[in-house]
Symmetry: C2
């Protein structure tokens, strides 16, 4: 008899949480019962799982009694508070927040890239940052085949990375702008909720995602640098691949774009070789047909689980150097789907 799992979704009412429900509905995990958890404010809300209406409950430590799998996307503080309680009660947690990503004994996993790391889990698996996930999806096949020396990335990140409220803020600002009204008074969340100043994103660009640190880098940029090293090399400070990042929020609701410049060890690699490697990697879709103007676009990636890669071309002045353009749905491969996919791998690999 197939084992069936009791699954709790923590932060079930958010932009990522609602998509975790959908992704779990479509997943291969044999689900016995689903429990939807959120803050007191959202408790009582009704949401459906496979047609069945479920009532969202307020999270308490006891919520996790009898739970096998926790999928969490309720913010770092909530994960820090409750996931150890869930682990204590025997659950395995896949956490979409940044709370545990840099803990040495917590695997940070994009299943197609480093599912082997799941074997070392101690009850918590961290889902990487959205912008990191799609970049390592595009680059891992290159690393495996040709070796990677350096990554220089500039991101074009969607508003939904900052949650449903940021999405609503973008829509309100856009309408006010089109009506000739001032957008400044609409800006309460972006560039980042906890910071002092807020700026409009509609018809604008904000080169700040998360807080700006003394290093000169934003915390989002820091994450891209160190998460990439941890996922690809198992060490967040590995000097083997040099990584630098510039993260910019753009007035797009869903799906991040990334302009990625990279250099490979095997300088005999051609752009066609890179394309072939990317296309053959599970979870990637090559959209690179410049004669027919085919390249990844955010509006085409919304609702898809795949990572879309195109505009692959050599830097003609530097051997072994290439540019590429990467797009993925930040709420799915960048969050909800990668989380559920990690849980699927845990089940398939008998690690739960």
């Amino acid at each position: 008899m197939t084992k069936e799992y009791n699954v709790a979704i923590l932060g079930a009412t958010g932009a990522v949480g609602t998509r975790m429900i959908e992704q779990l509905e479509q997943s291969t995990i044999p689900v016995k019962n689903v429990k939807l958890l959120a803050s007191a404010r959202s408790a009582g809300k009704k949401l459906k799982f496979k047609g069945e209406e479920l009532t969202v409950e307020e999270t308490t430590p006891e919520s996790f009694d009898g739970i096998d799998i926790v999928l969490s996307s309720a913010g770092g503080a909530v994960s820090k508070k409750f996931l150890p309680e869930a682990v204590k009660r025997g659950a395995v947690c896949v956490d979409n927040t940044s709370a545990f990503r840099m803990e040495p004994d917590v695997p940070l996993v994009v299943p197609e890239v480093n599912s082997e790391a799941l074997k070392n889990h101690h009850g918590i698996i961290a889902n990487p940052n959205c912008s990191t996930i799609q970049m390592v999806m595009a680059l891992e096949p290159v690393r495996r085949k040709f070796g990677l020396k350096q990554i220089i990335v500039s991101t074009y990140q969607a508003a939904s990375g900052a949650g449903q409220a940021a999405l609503d803020e973008l829509a309100k600002e856009a309408q006010d702008y089109l009506d000739g009204k001032d957008m400044q008074e609409d800006a309460h969340i972006l560039p980042t909720k906890g910071d002092k100043k807020h700026y409009p994103l509609a018809f604008n660009l904000l080169p700040q995602i998360d807080v700006l640190e003394d290093s000169g880098y934003s915390h989002e940029e820091w994450k891209m640098i160190h998460e990439t090293k941890k996922i690809m090399l198992g060490d967040m400070n590995s000097p083997e691949i040099k990584v630098t990042a510039t993260c910019v929020r753009v007035p797009v609701p869903i799906s991040h774009g990334e302009s990625v410049y990279f250099t490979v060890k095997d300088e005999s690699a051609t752009a066609q070789d890179i394309m072939d490697a990317v296309a053959a990697f599970p979870g990637n879709v090559l959209e690179d047909d410049i004669k027919n103007q085919i390249y990844p676009q955010p509006i085409n990636a919304v609702g898809k689980r795949e990572t879309f890669v195109g505009r692959i071309r050599p830097d003609y002045e530097n051997k072994g150097a290439f540019n590429m353009w990467v797009v993925a749905d930040n709420l799915l491969k960048g969050a909800a789907w990668n989380t559920v996919e990690n849980a699927e791998y845990l089940v398939k690999m008998n690690l739960i």
Copy 2:
């Protein structure tokens, strides 16, 4: 007695042309008479120069009789047809199109960077591409002080770079999106007028500006590479500074953003040194105060002549390597102002 000049503005009714009129009103050039020229379709339109109503005339070779200075932004084909006629009649032309930029005997000039090149003109001076201008403004002070080895740029380019019709298209698409309507049928111009397929830009990203060429690069990317070399080094194919570019159209009406990664020859340079050099360069404004969330934003640059630079920080894993973020009004410093400014320099330098 100060010499006064008869000035013709070719393409006077476009997004750049109307701004050329404004910039000429505010310029130091002693203007005797202004003639506004356009296609037959726009002839008869009324526009003001310093409060005086002028009627737009259809362009003919004879339009340039008695003209001293031509400011042109009517498209490459129009420039190619009429500017030699104007030169024949004794005028000096500053051309904002790409028609003559790569002619060896046509100076390609950003006045703060390479005004000396104006001395070699033979009647036509080319204004560089908008995305190139703001990048060389930010990097020239770095090149002079520390030497430049490599530039890797990813652009975030505004719709107005494709003209007034693209601006209107973006606004229509944005309203339709907010109303839940399909945007696809609004897309007639972007990514680039002459190409086969058109895609919506509102709430989307288009990694194509100008046509995509067999090299894998778009023509806009090609321009950034070769114009940068011609402006900084006097040779469009100079290997001295290596340049690569990824150009992306973003749903912003006016002002381009650029994420610029660069390496310098003098590896003792610090981020503070770079900031000091940028800030001291005429035409640049340093907006780099991360503690107070100060960095360049498109909505703040609109209507300004300056180039705004911020987020300057070292790549901690590569000596002599830095990231920066550059924003400028693509219709002013990227087009109308740089054109008028070139004419101001021609007057000041007695080259007209």
